[in-house]
Point group: C2
């Protein structure tokens, strides 16, 4: 799907006792992901049935990672739609410009970590679906 | 303690239903924390009794955050020592240069997220306590 892709990160384990010490996932800005990390946010404490997101960004790029459990992400444009399950700290979902997204089915105690290419900018958000759809039709028809 | 301090981040909740939608913690590089975020790593899957860390950095600055549970951090120099419990996504532990650190007592399914000021550089690590202690005595006596 355009402007969306799954990324695999390294999961580094202790060669002597992989189970005991868990795993370390390193992510370097502009190396492991395609942008410098200007902003991070985490979402935690989501209850069963809760759903968040419901917006798109005009320019912002993000990478979403599920920590401590699994989280489902709906990514959508006027032309394509997909539901992706994030269930590993070593799996990232890259979301580029003009993608509508909704996050749901957070497993108990899971945290969504989001890495973003820019500082917060309210002007970059499209929070209503109809105006989003109009802009997105034009954007993806180019 | 020198080069160590606790930080409180914003925990943004939906004013209409704070419990249901959990909370969002935003962290902007060079704004909410004192450095640009060049690298992030997560540590997950730690078993009870496992302990990691056992090193210091000469220059690197980091912010540690516990996600999905609680984690204890021992921070130590030749002159001071403290154990800090991280138990909220809105609490960060800043660790500057020349601090020995050990991480332990990870609660089930917790994840340690670490934000770092530089890319990985093996030459910046001090992995043996005695050479660390010699350098740290000089560093903190200045």
């Amino acid at each position: 799907m355009k402007n969306v892709r799954l990324m695999d990160f390294r999961y580094i384990q202790d060669p002597d006792d992989a189970e005991f010490y868990g795993g370390l996932v390193p992510i370097e800005g502009a190396r492991d992901i395609p942008f410098e990390i200007k902003r991070i946010y985490t979402i935690s404490g989501m209850q069963p049935g809760a759903r968040r997101g419901y917006h798109s960004h005009r320019d912002l790029e993000q990478v979403l990672i599920a920590l401590g459990g699994s989280i489902k992400i709906l990514v959508k444009t006027p032309f394509e739609e997909e539901v992706i399950t994030l269930d590993s700290p070593a799996k990232g979902l890259y979301i580029g410009p003009m993608i509508w997204r909704e996050m749901f089915d957070f497993s108990p105690n899971s945290t969504l970590m989001v890495l973003a290419s820019k500082y917060y900018n309210e002007g970059d958000y499209l929070r209503e679906y109809e105006p989003y759809e109009r802009e997105a039709r034009e954007y993806f028809s180019k």
